[in-house]
Symmetry: C2
Amino acid sequence: MGATKTEHFTNKHNAIATLAKALGHPARVAIIDYLLHAENCICGDIVNELPLAQPTVSQHLKELKNAGLIKGSIEGNSICYCIDEKAIAKMKTYFVHISMTLAKKKNNCY
Amino acid sequence: MGATKTEHFTNKHNAIATLAKALGHPARVAIIDYLLHAENCICGDIVNELPLAQPTVSQHLKELKNAGLIKGSIEGNSICYCIDEKAIAKMKTYFVHISMTLAKKKNNCY
DNA sequence: ATTTAATATTGCAATATTACGATATTGAGT
DNA sequence: ACTCAATATCGTAATATTGCAATATTAAAT
């Protein structure tokens, strides 16, 4: 017990959960926000922006990367991280779909 | 250490993270999916749909409720849970906004 | 009032996450 | 080769999450 029973759920549900989980921490939301607005996307800047130590930021970046929300390319001795549009598109589609289905459905709670 | 430093982040970032975190588990995504398609939304049905024991499902429902993703009204001796459209709208807006900003931006990663 | 069905709460063990100091790696500039 | 700057990894402590058996609660039906 304690471990998520991933194998019992559908791929679709697991995929959404993985992306959502990656955004389930304010530091990671802040990183996405930063990447969305930054001109250049060198990681050192992100460390300065966040109230967290460098290893912690590095760990959060890793999680975003594992989940597929960001991708990084080495650029000299620093790294250019940026948002992976495909992951954002997936989440956008997911919520748009829920929204539309709900609109048609006449929700039956007060 | 080990606790998220919520107080160091903006309300906006914390709000998105809270909603995302609530969806960061396949069981909770499955619950939302079920509520989206179910005619009647009695909790017992959800327990039968999921590969988890009743207390576990109850706990997941509680988390979705705390995060504001679902709301529940007592209906006789069962409970009518349903999706809170406002929370979905918030997430939809969030991802639509990222998507649009990215489209204008010409992402600079390969 | 008792029983039954639906749901919630408690308590606890297993596991995961968060955070960071210390240390490693790696590429650029000297 | 040496140093410096940027980033990653390791190790580990603190905390949170997941899952469930046992138990409690509550409303309907008898």
